[in-house]
Symmetry: C2
Subunit: 375 residues, 2 copies
């Protein structure tokens, strides 16, 4: 059989404050088109459908709409699990009714070892779980790591393996050996959660969610589909997409999802970045992280850059900044008002004010001291 | 056909800070038992299933569990709408799949005039709606009141009326002429939302939610089922329950849901209320609103009452309090420390301190003035 493997939709996610719902809706339509064009027999969604346990009404509308379209209108069987960003309890709403239309949504470990059989494949759906839940389910208080838990759960799955069937695991965890990007929550990657790839060798394919780069796993058959969109600057150079897996021909193809609007890093000197021939190459709706190569102060830098790149998501100095004189807070506190002005002027403009400017400032300061009246 | 009419479950509701989930789960089990014992053909839930748009995971678990039990396990068709306390969008999750098992959950006005036909009855499910949504749906910007909107929607329903069928409306609004209690949100009762009973005369039965007293409507066939539990002190003397409606014999029976723990008002003099022969008649788990008939101050009154009635939800003075001397804040501010003490003593104990007590207090005050050292 042929199935599409996606994960980490993170519906509701923002990118540095920008709402991504238009981009997410577009990506979901493109995903649907791939499923139709490729004539897949099922769609696997390996967790983190939502970005948070308490999604907004708009996010609920988008996810409900997408699942309804894929399953009820297009007729694709769905095999889905909850990820660490989902609320298992909330996501599970309706799941008992979904199975009538071959929409299998598992949010509890209890059903992980119940295979779903479809066209010669046994799918095992293992939602994201906490160690405590696994201890409870397995009835073993001595379990300490995700790896130990997965080993035990996989052994229960293996008892259900039928000869002549291919075996696919759908999971949401950090497989050891993976590369990672910035948009997974750091505390949830590594450590307790790491699962060794060896534990998963018994499967013909492992459809993973959690890490956002589709190249995060180096294994040939243990794959992260990657996230639906680029959700951090560190993913700017990633290609996002879905896997199409054919268990008969044993081929795995990566199908790109071209984003509606790109996330990109632009790097250079300020004077170059604000040249029309440079910034006009970049669509206004793209999300831009700017890396300035300048080290000197630039007045009103963000506003001036935003005129060229309206959706700036990050502004960095690639080479740091020049050392300022008197830049210690303690020193500044000791300066006179006039000296403070001169220092500020130098920091901002790059040189000290001239004699006339200083005279004007002196007059202004006097006027302020006199309650706003010049004498 | 025979159906059970319930509404206003308000799962997740608290009573003056007390969690009611145990009581709600118990009431839902009793409701199920009535449905089974009465062999009803369907269950109508007329809105406010949840108490809030963003229910807790525990509330989601309770509602999902109850709906699954009633529909999938017991096999009752369900006819449900969203109320003003529900998030229509969140509640609608899964609704397209539910209909395969005769679970009709309408959260949008758009489907209000699509009858659901069952055993000779046409059910019309009209969820709670805002005037703006009705204007939108009806394409008429001149609509101003809920009454006008309902009239227009009912006229659309009437176009669908089939001869030989009975017609039942399921709605969630304030029908004019109703009595109200305190646990509906006041701003949502009356005014714009009021719907005249005349508009509903064309139905054989109108199954309403919104008001919490099952006697709120005086009409013979336009009924509020009342809430699942007593959700305010003003409902203490209510009987909660469900209606069982038989459209063939045209009978309507009210079936009580006896609460696991009562909400009750106890009224009397403090000295009587704390007598064991009185408070021992009331189970410790009952929720008690105390109305004290005393007018004089009583030291540590709440703690002493709680020893007799552990779950006090309200404490009132039935006859007000005695007028205190010097009880104006402005006067108190002018008093010396010693006079403040005397006034406080009198307020609390009922008489002024004696000479010796005053001396002790004077010494204590001197010690405080001397930085804690007595001299």
């Amino acid at each position: 059989m042929k199935f599409l493997h996606t994960a980490d939709w993170h519906v509701g996610r923002k990118l540095h404050g920008y709402d991504l719902s238009t981009e997410q809706a577009d990506a979901l339509r493109k995903l649907e088109k791939i499923a139709i064009d490729e004539k897949v027999d099922a769609i696997v969604i390996a967790g983190d459908i939502y970005d948070r346990g308490m999604p907004s009404e708009d996010s609920v509308r988008m996810v409900n709409g997408a699942l309804k379209k894929l399953n009820l209108e297009d007729g694709f069987p769905l095999l889905a699990i909850s990820g660490n960003h989902d609320s298992a309890e909330r996501l599970s709403t309706g799941s008992e009714w979904f199975e009538a239309t071959s929409f299998y949504l598992h949010t509890k470990l209890e059903r992980a070892a119940e295979p779903i059989e479809m066209s010669g494949v046994q799918f095992f759906l293992m939602p994201y779980f906490e160690i405590s839940a696994a201890k409870n389910f397995l009835g073993d208080e001595t379990l300490k790591t995700a790896n130990q838990c997965v080993r035990r759960i996989v052994s229960l799955m293996k008892e259900q393996f039928k000869a002549g069937f291919k075996h696919v695991l759908v999971g949401h965890f950090f497989a050891v050996g993976s590369l990672k990007s910035d948009s997974e929550t750091p505390s949830e990657v590594g450590g307790l959660e790491a699962v060794g790839i060896d534990e998963l060798e018994c499967f013909d394919y492992v459809a993973l969610g959690h890490l956002h780069q589709h190249r995060a796993s180096k294994s040939e058959k243990i794959k992260y589909s990657g996230s639906l969109l680029k959700y951090s600057v560190s993913e700017a150079s990633d290609q996002k997409g879905v896997y199409v897996v054919d268990t008969d021909s044993e081929t795995i193809a990566y199908k790109p999802l071209e984003p509606l609007n790109e996330v990109r890093v632009v790097k250079g000197l300020f004077e170059n970045l604000i040249k029309p021939e440079n910034y006009r190459q970049i669509p206004d709706d793209d999300y831009v992280a700017v890396e300035l190569e300048d080290r000197v102060p630039i007045i009103d830098v963000m506003n001036r850059l935003k005129k060229c790149y309206p959706r700036i998501i990050e502004l960095k100095r690639a080479n740091g900044r020049v050392n300022h004189e008197n830049n210690g807070v303690r020193n500044l506190e000791k300066l006179s008002e006039m000296d403070l002005f001169k220092t500020f002027y130098k920091d901002t403009i790059g040189e000290y004010p001239d004699e006339e400017q200083c005279k004007m400032m002196e007059l202004a300061l006097q006027a302020v001291r006199n309650g706003g009246e010049n004498q």
